[in-house]
């Protein structure tokens, strides 16, 4: 092959590679995306069981019960509530009335099985660095599954 041809060849290979990588990224995004639903949306429209999503709301008064390390509670957005179970240690700021966001999936019985629970801190105007750090410090990382 002439050098010019060869260069074209490299460029084509590179292009092919990049488009493959981008295609794969988009596919992965589609798979790994976590949508947010409020308890009302779940109550009204439902959500496929087994598919992961995030739900947020306030922990309903008097709804928290625990059995060993497994905690069951309900989150509400004022209109509807959703039952959540969680088998890890909850964040310190978790309490009745606290705003939380949980990541997990519905089981066949319609109960939300959480993989992580994030307690929403009382945020007020603050530098993004702090807000971000706070977000992370309440962030449950059961698998240590980062990077």
């Amino acid at each position: 092959m002439k050098p010019k041809r060869k260069r074209l060849f490299i460029v084509l290979i590179g292009l092919l590679f990049v488009s493959a990588a981008v295609g794969f990224s988009l596919f992965a995004l589609d798979q790994e995306l976590d949508v947010f639903r409020s308890p009302s949306e779940i109550a009204e429209k439902g959500f496929p069981s087994g598919k992961r999503f995030r739900v947020g709301g306030l922990v309903e008064d008097g709804s928290v019960s625990s059995e060993g390390i497994v905690t069951t509670f309900r989150v509400t957005d004022g209109a509807h509530a959703l039952t959540i179970t969680y088998d890890k240690i909850l964040p310190d700021l978790f309490r009745e009335g606290q705003g939380i966001i949980a990541l997990g999936a519905l089981n066949a019985g319609g109960t939300f099985e959480a993989q992580e629970v994030l307690a929403k801190h009382d945020e007020n105007y603050m530098p993004p660095e702090v807000a971000d750090a706070l977000k992370k410090s309440g962030h449950f990382k059961p698998e240590g599954g980062d990077s």
Binding site: I10, V11, G14, V18, A79, G99, N124
Partner: protein, 204 residues
């Protein structure tokens, strides 16, 4: 970025020895490819611009058009009245969630004072998770824009309102229905462009 990766190969014309027509064509493709990054940036920039007007935290909007919660809160020390849901009787009123530890409330405070001076609308204060003495001192130092203040010591009422952070302001109508919620401090712009027109509209 990936679509620009190909630029290096083709963006550098091979140079010498080619006939004129291919050179022209090559220059055209070269320009096209070199323009890809700017095209990509235009798309991203547009989304960023849209993003500025979107609010990623608009989660607890469910209480809008719903009745305000029922509550009865104690007064701050030295004040005669507390604040209860029974006070929400005017055609329109503001419920402002504040705390002495909240920096943004300090920023918002002069705007509230000005609103108070104008007498356009009653302002009620929900003193959220704050030490009553600290709150009292704060109001003494900077002025008190509130018609009534309830001390929400443990934040329970704030929770019923779906308070996500401080400050937040709820606009409640004569039937005790929450009409609108302002997240974060009320700026002069928000006051002039959103709040006052809305209040005027509701008072008609």
């Amino acid at each position: 970025m990936s679509d620009t990766a190909k630029t290096d190969g083709q963006g550098e014309p091979e140079g010498v020895g080619a006939a004129n027509a291919p050179v022209a064509r090559k220059a055209r493709t070269g320009l096209l490819i070199a323009a890809l990054p700017i095209a990509a940036f235009v798309v991203i920039g547009w989304f960023l611009f849209r993003g500025l007007s979107l609010d990623p935290s608009e989660i607890y909007s469910v209480l809008i058009d719903k009745p305000a919660p029922t509550f009865d809160l104690a007064a701050l020390p030295g004040k005669e009245h507390g604040f209860s849901s029974a006070d929400l009787t005017q055609p329109v009123q503001l419920v402002n969630v504040f705390a002495s530890w909240c920096v943004a409330c300090r920023v918002e405070h002069p705007v509230l004072m000005e609103l108070k001076r104008s007498g356009a609308v009653p302002i009620y204060g929900l003193n959220y998770q704050d030490q009553p003495d600290a709150a009292g001192g704060w109001l003494q130092n900077f002025g008190d824009p509130y018609d009534r203040i309830g001390s929400d010591l443990n934040g329970r009422v704030g929770i019923d309102f779906g308070v996500y952070g401080v400050p937040e302001t709820f606009i409640v109508d004569g039937n005790g229905i929450i009409v609108r919620k302002i997240t974060g401090p009320i700026t002069p712009t928000i006051l002039q462009k959103e709040l006052l027109p809305l209040i005027a509209e509701m008072q008609k």
